[in-house]
């Protein structure tokens, strides 16, 4: 089991695990407001309110600590959350074509945000209702598919039905809501880190961290759970209970992420695939490396958005533009068995 290629793989895996941190540090210096390396270093070493030296504008501190830092942390958390959730659900559903929104999270989130904007108005952040309704959507899926049915197919089908229901509900709400409330909703739905602030992080990041730790600890179990129900059962696994645990954790991280930044597609689908391509299907590697790669992808994509122009392209559009050609490439590569 060891050899030169295995050593290379191990080095690559290590590099991938470090990548998010490296990207994080580098990204602090990227953005619309020009921040020189000197200014960056000074600000990071003097977090207190002392006066900045010559040539360093006082605004730099705000830019770094109040805008970039929360945005990058949120980006890391969201990237990791969506990717790991995708990996977990792919194993659970024994299907590499599954993504993190398959159980109705995206449509549930949208309905929650819409209802919040319409009924609770501007005062209330839509994040809370968005999270609650995402969880409701998944709960509905589990409830409807019933006690005996932790079978993948029925969960998937129920997910599709619940998604359709919530989407219809969303259209209904949009129909009756004031068009100017809808603007806020539309903007939120696009999937963007653009307004990330520390407030957003206080609740979502701990939730994501909690779910992440949970899923990373469960990672070897995913191998077994990716077997057929019968096989997993015969290997001694309480399939139903563990499946629900995994779905709960995946829902937690995905809802926490989606309620804050909107819908960012393709991460949970593409990232685990890429990791399997590089490192094989063993979830002991796939799970943590998906989190690391997902976090890096979001940060790097956000760097491109922030660095290339003053305009904010929603990151969801970005991931689609990249995700679709990658998907086609993957289709071509996986000629034999799926990764």
């Amino acid at each position: 089991m060891s050899g030169p290629s295995d050593k290379k793989k191990r080095a690559l895996a290590l590099a991938l695990l470090i990548l998010p941190l490296v990207a994080f540090v580098v990204s602090l210096g990227i953005g619309t407001y020009p921040v020189s390396p000197r200014a960056l270093v000074w600000v990071l070493t003097h977090p207190g309110a002392s006066a900045p030296p010559e040539g360093v504008s006082p605004a730099v501190r705000d830019v770094i600590f109040k805008i970039r830092l929360p945005r990058l942390i949120l980006g890391l958390a969201v990237g990791a959350a969506l990717s790991i959730s995708g990996a977990a659900l792919q194993a659970l559903f024994k299907n590499p074509l599954v993504n993190e929104y398959i159980l109705g999270i995206s449509s549930g989130s949208a309905v929650g945000a819409a209802l919040s904007l319409v009924f609770l108005g501007r005062g209330f952040p839509p994040q809370v209702a968005s999270f609650v309704f995402a969880v409701i959507a998944v709960g509905a899926v589990l409830l409807i598919s019933g006690k005996a049915e932790t079978h993948s197919i029925s969960l998937l089908l129920t997910g599709i039905i619940v998604t359709a229901f919530f989407s219809a509900l969303l259209s209904l709400i949009e129909f009756f809501a004031s068009p100017y409330v809808l603007q806020a909703l539309f903007f939120w739905l696009m999937g963007s880190l653009s307004l990330a602030s520390w407030k957003d992080l206080y609740i979502s990041v701990p939730l994501i961290a909690l779910g992440l730790v949970f899923l990373v600890m469960l990672r070897w179990r995913f191998n077994v759970l990716s077997m057929s129900e019968e096989e997993a059962k015969s290997l001694g696994v309480n399939v139903r209970r563990e499946k629900i645990l995994v779905i709960a954790a995946a829902t937690l991280v995905t809802s926490a992420a989606t309620s804050v930044v909107g819908i960012i597609g393709w991460l949970g689908f593409i990232v685990p695939h890429l990791v399997r391509l590089m490192f094989g299907a063993d979830n002991r590697r796939v799970v943590p490396l998906s989190a690391a790669l997902g976090a890096s992808v979001v940060i790097i994509a956000d760097d491109l958005i922030r660095g290339l122009s003053s305009f904010e392209i929603p990151i969801g559009i970005f991931t689609s533009i990249i995700g679709i050609p990658v998907f086609i490439l993957l289709l071509k590569k996986a000629r034999k068995v799926w990764l």
Partner: protein, 364 residues
């Protein structure tokens, strides 16, 4: 998502300058061979040539800006139907034309048209929004009623041409001329006063429109005319007109505007971005406008423009930007006068700023 924000999508076709020239020509000179005493061929904002019976007696307006102009021209009783927005969500319109409550809603919130109702109402002409490019032609074809797709696209000149054109269609040309003359006169008054202001004293203004802190119109004429400078000017080529650009938050800090204006045409309960919110936002703490607490509401777009409202807004902004120059001006009185000139209703400006909670920020 079925909802589409007309302002965000507003496109200015490259040919609009040409179109404008055409307009002014058509206003002065009847097009040969196509114009008779009973009908007129005009070009709408989509450059469609449409033959319209004049004066139109039964008008269906699905474009709020046009609806307001029709009321201003004194032809409000000729309206046979309205669009969903202006009847259900437009607090301003209910102040200037309460009779509108009784008119049927002919288009749904997703901008689709109830054709059976249209047939029953038998309008002579239909005004629609130019953002749905296929609808005007398809409705005109299937119902045989002329459809004019028009909007000012965020330009005063277009707005004034529009008033003239609608005046022609309704046969209220005198009234239309009177209104456009009044409009120009008021603008000229402001222009004269700010002429002496040098470029450095023009306040740099950031506009936070469309329920978002980071969405800004790259061109907003009322700001330019009232002696301010839109910091987002030049971000996009000018021929694209008024477009909402989504910008990076850091860009606001980089611009460091003197004044931040938040679109306040929404009712307070519908606002996502508020003055308090901006002043408390720690990310913007270093921005001049926040430090000096020069964050205000302005009207902004409200399904294109209300001509009286945008004129009043220009005066309001002029006083906001140059308080010394306009110290003697009572904005509430001026605003009321503008609305009274257009709609004949008193105290609308005061009622509007009250409903929109502009009071604290209205410069008296």
């Amino acid at each position: 998502m079925s909802f589409r924000d007309p302002r965000a999508d507003s496109r200015r076709t490259p040919g609009v300058p040409v179109l404008l020239a055409f307009f002014s020509l058509a206003a002065a000179v009847r097009l040969p061979a196509a114009a008779t005493a009973q009908s007129l061929t005009v070009r709408d904002s989509l450059r469609r040539a449409v033959e319209v019976p004049v004066p139109a007696q039964r008008i269906l307006s699905l474009q709020p800006e046009i609806t307001r102009i029709i009321v201003a021209l004194g032809a409000g009783e000729r309206l046979v139907g309205l669009d969903y927005f202006i009847r259900e969500n437009d607090h301003l319109f209910s102040m200037i034309f309460p009779a509108g409550e009784r008119l049927p809603v002919v288009s749904k919130p997703d901008e689709s048209v109830n054709r059976e109702l249209v047939v029953r109402l038998k309008p002579d002409v239909i005004f629609s929004s130019p953002t749905e490019q296929q609808v005007p032609d398809s409705v005109q074809r299937s119902l045989g009623i002329p459809v004019l797709a028009m909007a000012s696209m965020g330009r005063f000149e277009s707005l004034l041409e529009e008033i003239e054109l609608v005046g022609k269609v309704t046969g209220r040309t005198e009234r239309a001329s009177g209104l456009t003359a009044y409009f120009r006169q008021k603008l000229a008054g402001v222009a004269e006063a700010v002429l002496s202001v040098d470029a450095a004293s023009r306040p740099r203004v950031y506009l936070a429109f469309w329920s978002s802190l980071i969405r800004t119109p790259v061109s907003y004429e009322p700001v330019d005319r009232s002696g301010g400078t839109n910091v987002a000017d030049g971000m996009l080529p000018s021929y694209l007109g008024t477009i909402g650009a989504v910008i990076n938050l850091e860009q606001i800090i980089l611009w460091d505007p003197d004044i931040i204006l938040i679109q306040g045409s929404y009712l307070p309960r519908d606002r996502s971005v508020t003055v308090e919110g901006v002043l408390e936002d720690s990310r913007l703490g270093s921005v001049k406008a926040v430090r000096n607490r020069r964050v205000y509401y302005t009207f902004g777009f409200w399904y294109w423009w209300d001509p009286a409202c945008v004129l009043a807004e220009t005066l309001y902004l002029a006083k906001l930007f140059h308080p010394a120059k306009f110290a003697a001006v009572d904005i509430e009185a001026e605003g009321n006068a503008v609305f009274e000139k257009f709609y004949g209703t008193k105290n609308v400006f005061a009622a509007l700023t009250g409903a929109l909670d502009f009071h604290e920020w209205t410069v008296r």
